[in-house]
Each structure stands twice: as structure tokens, then as C-alpha cells.
Symmetry: C2
Subunit: 593 residues, 2 copies
């Protein structure tokens, strides 16, 4: 069986390059240890290999279908979802009192990485339920929690996030699904429609619990008038709740996970239960959205990881051509991994996958610390840094995951384009991530238009400080001098360019934000280069102290060199834009296309 | 119906920006005129709209199947292939004596662009037959020509190019299919297998004529021992010829065109007819391959064009969000084409599609001139320039076509990921082109390792000369000063970087060629920027002389500005590599991955 992730690398990321064990000093996680973390990850690997992986191709070839108003999914998913529930994956993050394991999110999301790399479609179901249940337990009344969460934890019921509407995609302020008060407090009649609802209906669970954004009749316009409701497909009484599956979307990839078009309250008989306070819906949702966004980054890395491993295995086995200075045709062909350009495509993938994974784990540890930080000024700083990093950690893996899976296809050549190998499936699946949970363009605006600017640039300054610390610490490793110097030079140019961009604020938001996506891209490259500097340091330290597994550590340092030589220079073209005063994307008129 | 190409732009490219009418001064094309060219293109559009386009989705959803040893394709293809034959498309290039129309290849390939943009899968069949028939008429005996070509011209028989084998993909020198002499002169018994043979078997034609590379028993090793054979599926006598369809490949995209795995002579009963001289097969094939490579570039542009048009139509119609400085939520949402970042994605596509089309038409006109040039020193120069440009004109559209269709998906967002819109199909189809007819890596080696170096750099110097001419002529347009200056600056840096790269030859081929793919990428950006400088000049000239259609010409100039501001700066990161003396892609060991 082809590997779909590198266990060795994941352990390096968690226990060597970053120290996730410092989380066990937080009282909530005090029962945990390296041993429990490894057990969780091993158990994730087992489920991934034995249950999820075998369905990868089948679920792609046999898409869910809408039959008689109900979506039918792959029959194997019922067992898998129940297993996730029974083994405690869905509520692993929650407290012992809630039946959970008080697991750090860091370990939960890296377990997720293993599931997603094995079979992205299958991994979607339990993580959606966790997110929805988490919203109910965080903002809901005791009654709502008791009514809904236990069956969600067990995997009997599916949870969803129901945001998008036909006229409200990127523009959530235009949501028009309406909630009409009833005589019962907290109970509303909901009416509207929702589209693109992941796992919005299927036959592997007994009920579907939608966490739905809607506007209470008479609420203020825009995002300030949006509330969050629990809207089950069936009521607790088991009666239908007037949530009808109007359609199913057929997609390019991750076909195993159904996406539904729902009609809510077409017969004026849909009950929804207000979660928390009225008009706070978007705020509540965004609390989950930040984790969801890092989650999308992780999905993207996971698929890129599976594609990288598949193309690496192929490159080691497939003989084609000879070394470039070998003219003797009677010599046997060499495996294509011997060709520099194939190694370049592999190094590219390795640098994207392991660099992104490092950044996401950095963010996850930060997130776990924030949730339990008691010092308010420390917490404020941590939050500012994580808020700033979130659009980057969502977008870099998503955008580069597309290119990384494309490199995997390229290594396999014609074979990679056929369904005989899984890389074409990964290529199709990877394409969703620059769209999911906010498009890249939206995250560009979020980063430059909000995250960089808020609190007098606190998050931005903290990022600078952390990167500078990292550079300074790297000076101790003379073997890494060239690598560090490359990074330092480009980092200075980047900061200079970013400062230049800030001056443009003076010319109004359209000019200032016109290259926000490019700024996001450049920030991503800088952050991943930073993560590679960190990994090179960790590897060099291991080599200096005579570690075994020299191959592994040499590989880390060489990949860091690759990143500084091939990826980091890409910011030069981007920075040129920050200094430019020419704005063709603004000046272009729609009639001119 | 959504447009799939811009007729206005194609006319601009052929008759304004470049002057394809100068070809009518060549005696072979003397009967042609702007009127006949327009008639041909109009007629291509009609077939594309009425016959090809309606099958686009159906052919994707109902893939060819191998049933009882025979591949069944969409039943509509039989009519289409016959129509191509009857309307004279298959032999349009050939002389009146051969029943052809003496049409310039430039007009043939731009007609192909229209077919491919309408339905890439359907367009594949006739063009393969043209290529195969062309090989027979160029190198074959009178007997072979008379036996095989008439039914190919009529569309009754399919032609193919049968090169690839399980152990010989990029490495054609390793072909092992063998031809054993028989008593009949020119007749051989062929034995071996071929994979990935496009249109290698199907039920829309009565016979399949393979132009097959094989090695005559005892021939020298490597490319010098490869011969070209005509190998029909059925002999002229209508007996089967022991060419068995062993399998069909299911692919990610252009599913309507079948790709076959063929067993040749399993029962020692396959007859093949030697084409031309023994051991000249690769030379003959490459004569076609150069056109085939430009053809792949055109396929890539065509799909990118269809995706661009689909996303442009969507962006004009889809309301979402408000202008960035509009805070009043009671205002209606605006079409997304009003957002700068969406315009950026559209300008990117427009710049790739129209820039690549310009380069391909430039190459096509050059190719037509070469075929009829009588002055040997002029011809030598033209050939050197076209040889140099071919890997660029194949690879830039192929690589950027992938990114361009990806931008189309992004504009549609979630909708673009569903099968409700055609962009996801274009995205899947576009991915083949960096693989077809030589991967991008192979073309990088071809460009830097061969085309730049041969004849003391003749082709390379001619390219420099032509670009410099273009820059000098642009000085006459003061309105384009900034744009020209940007190009001139980057062009200088590129030449400086390229010179630096040449010094590395001294260190042997591995180092010299390790960044050949990056050199190809940078060369592509420079050539397309050059094409945009040319288009901007043509547009400015039209505006200066008071042309109507100002919107069209302003759009051209703005897109040229976009290219100089957003795409051209990407060479900076690439050039940095040419100056570097650090080689991680060489130093990386396979054990380190």
C-alpha cells in the first residue's frame, strides 16, 4: 500500500521542531503526555489505513445520489461515522464531564491530517459534527446541549454549518433566511434556502443538525442582524421539521461527501432554536470559523501529502532515461528520481507539505494556549498573532496544495492523468480549498484590510518579532549561514515592500487593497520560509549532537535550501507590485474585456 | 449559449496584429484572400457551434468503453468525423491535385482553435488523421499514399501516432517494438505494444491507421535505429491485422477521446509497411512533432479561452458584495466584475489566452513561410527561430493554461467546483497539456540544451533581434512609454541572467541544465510580454487613427499593462536562480526524501 503521509515527519513536527508537550503544563491537558499523544496518533493511523483508505477510490467513483428526496452516500460511511463516535473522536476535545478526553486541538487536528490524507471525503463527516456540537456546547442553553449534543458525539447524528445562500456566498451580510418568533421562547419558524451545505443530508446518520445563520424578522441589515439557530432535520419528537433536500451538487472532487441544497420551511413548519443571544450569530460562527479555516489549510496539506507520497513512490520505481551525462544506451534506464528536474518537483512538494504542516501546527499550539491562557496581556498578544496568521495558514496550503498535487501528476506523466493512479483524484480534490471557508481573495482582504491594521498593527509587529527571534537564534548554526542570510535578505525586502504598501492607505481602500491577494501570497511565502529556517535549525541541532537518521535530517536541510533558492525568490515579483503606482486591475473597465 | 472564444480577438490577431495575408503572396496560397480565410473561419465556427459544442458535456459524462475488444465512443462522433472529411478539413492543407485546398497551416490551426474551444475531445480525431496522412504523403511511396490517404481524407479511416511504450515514454530511444523483414519488400512483421494511443481504437471509423515507431530487427540502439511504419488495424483486404486493443485508459479529462493500449502482432500476424527509409523514423516523426507541439499549445489556449469566456460571462452577471468603498448595505449588490481582484483574475486569463494565441499565430505564419521559402539563407534563419520558439510556444500555453482555467474556477467559487458549470471540465482537460507531446521538463532540456546552443546560437540571436526590433518600433508610441520601458528593463535583466546561465555549461550538463525548466518558464514570460507589446502597439495605432471599437483597443492596452505589471515581474525570481551557485536539486539524495 502506498503511504499517504510521513509518520516520521509528523513526529518531527510535533515533538522535535515544535514542542507540543509544553501544552501538558496547562492544567486542562495535565493528564496527557507524549505517550497519550502518540497513542492517539497511532490509533488515527489505524483507522485511516483500515477503514478510510480502502474506500478512497470507491467513494470517488460512486457519488452520492439524491433519491426520493434523500441523499444516499456510500454504505461504508455509516460504520465509519459510528466508529468515529464510539472511539471518542467527535468529542475528544471536550471535558471529561462532557464525556470527552480533554485532548489538545493540536493533536486533534494532526489526527485529522492523517484521516484527510487517507480519504478526504470520509474525513469530512465527523469534523463537521465536532464543529457544530462545539458551537452548541459553547453558546447554547443547558437544554439545547442536552437535547442535541449526546447523539452528535456518538455519531448517530450529523452536524453541519449552514451559511451560504443563493445570494449570499462571500457576502454573508446579504443572508436573507428569516426567523419568525413563535410563542415559545427561543423557538422560531425558519424560512429560506441554503446551498452548498456539506453533509447537509445523508442516510448514514439518523438526523442532521444544522447550525444555521438566519435573520430574525426586523433585525438590522448587514452582519449585525444575523443570528445563529439550531435547525434539526427531524425534531426531537422524530417528526420531520420541514427541511427539504432540494438538490445535490455533483462536484469535481471529494465526491464522497455530499453537498446539499436545502429548502427551509417551505411549508411554514420548520422550527429553529436560537443559539445564545439574538444578532450575535456571525460572531459565534466566526469563533468556529477561525478553527475551520485552519482546518481547511490542514485538509489541503493532507491531500498534498498523499499526492507527494504517491509521486515519490513512483519516482523511486519508474525507470526512464539515463543520467544526463550518460551517453551509453546499453546502460539500464535509471529511476526518474535521479533526474534533477524530477527532484525539483519532489522538493517543491516536500517543501509545501512540510512547511505548511509546520505553520499549521504552530497555529494549533497557539490556539490551544489561547483557550487556556490566564494572563490577559499574554492572551491578547497570542490572539493577535493567531488572528493574523489564520488567513495565511488557510491560504498558502490551499493555493500551493493545488500546485503541489499538480507537480505530483506531472511526475507520473501520462500515467498521472489516468484513473489508474490516485494523483488525478488528489488533483481534483485539492482544487476546493482555495474556495472553501472564504476564497483566497476574501482572505487577502481580511489580512491586509483588517488583520494587519487592527490594534495598531499588534499582530503584524508580533509576527516580525517572532521571525526576527528565529533569525537571531539561527546565527548559532554556522552551517546554516547561507540559508539564513538568504532568508534575512528577502525578509528585509518584504518588510520594505509591506511598508510601501501601507502608505497607499492614504489613497483609499480600492487602491490600498487592490493587491491584497498578492500581499497574502508574499506573506505566505515568508511564513513558510520562516518555518523552513526553524526546521533546518532543528535538523542541524540533531546532526550536531550526533543523531542517528542522518538521511532524514539532511533531507530537511536540503529542502530548506530548496525553499530559499526556488520558492522564496518568488516574492521579488510580488514586492515589485507593492512599489508600483500603476493599477491596471482598477483601471480596467468591464466593457473593455 | 456561452461564448467559447472571441471572434473579434481572433480577427485582430490574424488580420491586424499580424498580417496573415502576406501568405497569399506565396504562389501556393495565391488563390486565397482575406475573404476565403474568413469563410473558412466562419465555417469552423458554425460546425463548432452546431455539431461540436452540443456534445461537450455528454462526451465527458459518457466515457468511451472497451466492450468485446473494441472501443465504443459517443455515437455522435461518427457524423462529426464524416463531416470533417466531407467538408475538406482533414486534407485542407494539401494541394489541389491531392484534393486539398492549399490552405495555410495558420488558418488551419486557428480553425482548430475554434473546434478545440468548443469541444476539445471531439476536435482530437480529425487532427490526428491529418497528421498521420501528412506523414504518409510526405514520406510514403505512391502505393502507400494511394492505398491509405483517400479514406483518411474522407474521414472513413482514423489516423494515429503510435510512439509510447510501457518502457519508452519520455525516453523514445528505448522503444522496443520490433519489425521483422518479410519476403515482400517494404513489408514487415511487427511485434510489440503501444500505450496511450489517442484514438487508437474506436467504432466511429471503419479502420485505424497507425503511424508507428518500431525498430527493424538488428537496427542500431537508440534513436538512430528507429523506423516509421504504417500499421493498419485492418489490412486493405479487410482482414484483421493482429492489432488488438488490450485496454482503454480512463482519464481525468477530455474523456470523449479514447486512449488505447494496443498489442501488436501477438499472433505474429501484424503487417507493417515501412514509410520512407529505414532508421529515419524519429526524424520523420519529429517533422510532424514540431507542428504537433504547436498544436498542443493551441489546444491549451483553446481550453483556456473557453474557461475565460465562461468566467467572464459569470462575472458580469453574478451580483455579490458591494464596491469596497460602499458601506450602505441597502444598496444592491454589484456584479463581481466590479471587484479589483476578480478583474485581476480575468486580466490574468485574458493575458494568457490572447498573448499565447499571438505567439502561436506568429509561429504558424513562420511555419507556412518556411514550407515555401525559396531563399536558403532566409529559410535557415526562419527555421532556427521557429525551432527555438517551438518548446516555448508549446509550454507556456500548456503550463499557464492550467493556471488560467484554475482562475476561471476561482471566479465562479463554489459554483465553479460543481458540474453545473463547464469550468471544472475545462480545469480537468487543461491538465493534460504539460504532459502531451513531451513534458514541460523535456521541453526545458530541448530549449536550453539544444535549441539555444545549435548553430552558434543562431535561433537565440534571431529572437533577440526580433524582440529588439519590436521594442525600437514601440518608441514611436509615446502613450506606451511606461509599458515599453518596463519590458525593456526586464528584457535586459533576462538577457543578463541567460548569459550567466551559459557560463555554467563549463561545469557540465547536470549543473548547466538543472534549471532548464525555469529557463523555459522565463523565456515564455518574455515572449508573451513581447507579444503584448506588439498588441499594445497595434491597438494604440488603431486608436491614434480614430478607430471605432475603442473599448476593444483600450482593453488590449490595459491587458498589456497588466502583463507588464503582474506577470513579467515573475521572471525576477527565476533569474535569481540563473545567478545562483547553489544546487539543491542536484545535491538532494533520493534517500533523503
Amino acid at each position: 500500500m502506498t503511504r499517504f503521509y510521513s509518520k516520521r515527519d509528523l513526529q518531527f513536527q510535533l515533538f522535535e521542531n515544535q514542542n507540543c508537550l509544553e501544552l501538558t503544563q496547562i492544567p486542562y491537558f495535565a493528564d496527557h503526555s507524549e505517550e497519550t499523544f502518540r497513542l492517539v496518533l497511532d490509533s488515527a493511523e489505524q483507522i485511516a489505513e483500515k477503514s478510510l483508505r480502502p474506500l478512497l477510490t470507491e467513494m470517488d467513483r460512486n457519488e452520492p445520489q439524491l433519491i426520493d428526496g434523500k441523499i444516499r452516500i456510500h454504505p461504508g460511511m455509516k460504520t465509519i461515522i459510528r466508529q468515529f463516535g464510539q472511539d471518542g473522536w467527535i468529542n475528544a476535545l471536550f471535558s471529561y464531564e462532557e464525556g470527552g478526553q480533554q485532548l489538545p486541538w493540536t493533536i486533534h487536528i494532526t489526527s485529522g491530517f492523517i484521516f484527510q490524507a487517507a480519504n478526504y471525503s470520509a474525513s469530512v463527516f465527523p469534523f463537521l459534527t465536532t464543529g457544530a456540537a462545539n458551537l452548541i456546547r459553547t453558546f447554547g442553553s443547558k437544554e439545547l446541549i442536552e437535547k442535541f449534543t449526546p447523539k452528535m458525539y456518538s455519531g448517530a447524528w450529523q452536524g453541519t454549518m449552514a451559511l451560504t445562500e443563493p445570494d449570499a456566498g462571500s457576502s454573508l451580510s446579504d443572508i436573507s433566511t428569516t426567523a419568525f418568533p413563535t410563542e415559545a421562547p427561543g423557538v422560531f419558524r425558519i424560512k429560506g434556502q441554503k446551498i452548498y451545505i456539506s453533509a447537509g443530508d445523508h442516510d448514514a446518520c439518523e438526523n442532521i443538525i444544522h447550525l444555521m445563520l438566519a435573520r430574525i424578522q426586523g433585525a438590522p441589515a448587514g452582519t449585525k442582524g444575523i443570528s445563529l439557530f439550531v435547525v434539526p432535520k427531524k425534531r426531537i419528537s422524530n417528526e420531520p421539521n420541514d427541511v427539504l433536500t432540494q438538490g445535490i451538487y455533483h462536484k469535481m472532487g471529494y465526491k464522497g461527501a455530499p453537498i446539499a441544497h436545502l429548502m427551509i420551511g417551505s411549508n411554514d413548519a420548520c422550527e429553529g432554536y436560537l443559539l445564545g443571544e439574538a444578532n450575535q450569530g456571525l460572531k459565534y460562527m466566526f469563533q468556529m470559523m477561525n478553527e475551520a479555516r485552519l482546518g481547511v489549510g490542514m485538509n489541503a496539506v493532507a491531500i498534498a501529502s498523499a499526492a507527494f507520497q504517491a509521486s515519490l513512490a513512483y519516482a523511486k520505481e519508474r525507470p526512464q532515461g539515463r543520467k544526463i551525462n550518460e551517453k551509453d544506451l546499453s546502460q539500464a534506464q535509471v529511476p526518474i528520481i535521479e533526474h534533477a528536474d524530477v527532484k525539483r518537483l519532489l522538493l517543491f512538494q516536500k517543501s509545501v507539505v512540510e512547511g505548511s504542516l509546520a505553520l499549521l501546527i504552530y497555529c494549533a499550539i497557539l490556539s490551544d494556549k489561547i483557550a487556556h491562557e490566564v494572563d490577559s496581556s499574554t492572551k491578547k498578544e497570542q490572539e493577535a498573532l493567531l488572528d493574523l496568521l489564520t488567513p495565511i495558514a488557510k491560504s498558502y496550503p490551499s493555493e500551493m496544495g493545488v500546485q503541489s498535487t499538480s507537480a505530483a501528476v506531472q511526475i507520473l506523466g501520462g500515467a498521472g492523468y489516468t484513473t489508474d493512479f490516485p494523483v488525478e483524484q488528489y488533483y481534483r480534490e485539492a482544487r476546493i480549498h482555495p474556495i472553501h471557508e472564504g476564497t483566497t481573495g476574501i482572505h487577502g482582504l481580511d489580512l491586509l484590510g483588517r488583520k494587519v491594521l487592527i490594534q495598531e498593527g499588534l499582530g503584524w509587529k508580533l509576527l516580525q518579532r517572532e521571525i526576527q527571534k528565529s533569525v537571531d537564534a539561527a546565527r548559532a548554526y554556522s552551517a546554516l549561514g547561507e540559508l539564513r542570510q538568504s532568508f534575512e535578505n528577502q525578509f528585509k525586502k518584504f518588510n520594505h515592500g509591506a511598508a510601501q504598501l501601507l502608505f497607499k492607505m492614504n489613497q483609499g481602500p480600492e487602491i490600498f487593497l487592490s493587491d491584497a491577494t498578492l500581499f497574502l501570497e508574499a506573506s505566505g511565502i515568508i511564513c513558510i520560509a520562516w518555518m523552513w529556517l526553524e526546521q533546518a535549525k532543528t535538523a542541524q541541532k540533531a546532526l550536531n549532537t550526533g543523531a542517528a537518521e542522518q538521511d532524514f535530517y539532511f533531507g530537511k536541510i536540503e529542502t530548506a535550501r530548496y525553499f530559499m533558492e526556488y520558492e522564496l525568490p518568488k516574492i521579488k515579483g510580488l514586492i515589485e507590485r507593492f512599489h508600483s503606482t500603476s493599477y491596471p486591475t482598477i483601471d480596467m473597465k468591464k466593457e473593455w474585456f
